[in-house]
Symmetry: C2
Subunit: 316 residues, 2 copies
């Protein structure tokens, strides 16, 4: 019997999980129907409904009373229904108290988990990452221990917009966003830097390390160092196959210089996300001579949704 259906509904993908009463995943699906890639239908609401049905209508038909919970961009202004942002610091229980109910039709509904925001000089927002962070803390023994001890966990979620989230005593207390992934994409595909690039067969770690090294030597000089992707080709210091990883190193090196600034050496750092990208970050930190322990935790959106659903008494 199904206890919960959990939808990790982002910009480009919709991942659906079926969980049993003990919290284990009994089925999963990945659909290419993020909120910016919905299936065709006469209007946007019908597109959302169609994606919802493709994700879980059969599971729900088999267990009509089963609750459905969702996290991610589905709660944004471009999503199905806007869900609030809770101000940091906040914990998983507070998220559970502010679920947004969406009626799919007369019979069915689901609940969207709020995002988290921070309103400093430069405001920060996230949707979905907060749930992954709480899922990782629930699911990872080491992270649980760090949190129980009162120490800070620094959790990085690399991606199009990398998020760095710091968590103390189970509360998210700071978040920062770096557009490194998107900047890499737009520079590679739409700028002069990409014109000469050739994809390497395997990542060129030497060129990557060189990019990191330049970023470390000239912290804060991203604008002034980007052009070296081109000039080092002209001066035969880089090949067209090396340009992509050199650019990646420059961007990650700049991100790390900011994100790691002022972090004490006993703060442990956890990476959540795709394995190759997390390993790239781990490698970057080693080249950066970052002396903190760095771990990779499995992506944990479904664990986070399970946790929030329990706090919200959607599951026993």
């Amino acid at each position: 019997m199904t206890a919960l259906i959990a939808l990790d509904w982002g910009t480009s993908a919709l991942r659906a999980y079926r969980l049993a009463a003990n919290g284990t995943v009994t089925a999963r699906r990945e659909l290419p129907h993020g909120i910016m890639k919905l299936p065709d239908a006469p209007n946007r609401l019908m597109s959302f409904r169609l994606a919802f049905d493709l994700a879980c209508a059969d599971w729900l038909a088999a267990d009509p009373a089963c609750p459905v919970i969702a996290s991610g961009m589905i709660g944004s202004a471009q999503g199905w229904q806007p869900a609030p942002y809770l101000p940091a610091p906040c914990d998983a229980r507070q998220l559970a108290e502010q679920l947004t109910r969406v009626d799919v039709d007369d019979q069915r509904c689901f609940y969207i988990i709020p995002g988290v925001q921070q309103t400093n000089l430069l405001p920060e927002v996230m949707r979905g990452e907060e749930t992954q962070v709480f899922g990782a803390i629930t699911g990872d023994e080491r992270l649980r221990d760090v949190q129980a001890s009162g120490r800070k966990s620094l959790i990085a979620l690399p991606g199009t917009h990398s998020k760095w989230v710091s968590v103390t005593q189970g509360k998210i207390d700071r978040l920062r966003t770096f557009m490194s992934g998107e900047l890499y994409d737009v520079l590679r595909h739409h700028s002069i830097l990409g014109l000469t690039m050739q994809p390497p067969e395997t990542p060129d770690w030497q060129a990557f390390a060189e990019g990191i090294r330049v970023a470390r030597q000239q912290p804060g000089n991203l604008l002034g160092s980007l052009f070296s992707v081109r000039t080092r080709l002209l001066c035969q210091q880089l090949s067209p196959q090396q340009q992509p990883d050199y650019l990646s190193g420059l961007l990650l090196g700049n991100e790390l210089a900011i994100a790691l600034d002022g972090i004490s050496a006993d703060t442990d750092i956890t990476l959540i996300g795709s394995q190759p990208l997390c390993q790239r970050y781990q490698r970057a930190m080693a080249i950066f001579e970052c002396r903190n322990p760095v771990y990779i935790a499995p992506g944990a959106a479904e664990q986070g949704m399970w946790q929030v659903a329990r706090y919200a008494s959607l599951v026993a």
Copy 2:
């Protein structure tokens, strides 16, 4: 009688000047035939010839012995014929000694002025800007005086790739490139930041100043502040019409933080380029509380080419 035909031949435009024996311009033309926008022809060489003819065939037919000189990307690997880069420090006389001759056909030829490079940790290159710099020094009395006194001139050429060139005693001794203009374009047209932007009717100087202010308060944190273009919209601190100038301010502020770092207060700064863009930079420097005197000099490619042609004895 025409003494010189000068071609300022860049990536997107081809500007042609006809100069009399006293160095004054007697005719000018602007064609949209930069090396990346050549007119259609059966092959690339014929496209170059066609653009050349459109620019100056009639002037040359009237004065067949008149020399033709060119500067800019026409001497790059993607140009008509590769011209060398001279290492900085170098002056206009040295450029004149290294012209590259291009035969247009059996009767006609022209000469390309070399670019300038710098081979430090991060190599730098330019083509065309060196000629504008020398032209400005020749044409601008104040710049001539600064150079004659032995002081340093810092000359900025804002654009897609902004160049900052320092000149002492008539020699270019340092150059730096900032991709601020191209970054603005790719972020505006190809990133999530551009999705919500609306063009303002007139520049929003308040939003621009706010971008500069953030860049000043968080020097070096470009990667971490870019996302605020989006979050400040979400938090209603910026309107869609304000986003473009806020982004422009962030980028220019980051450029200035690097370019002005360590510059002594008596170094005067000259801007060369389009009037609106130079005025934007001037405004940015004022908000930046830059205490250096900042001037705008007229674009001076044709003056620079005249100067080099004289040193090369192409003109009397």
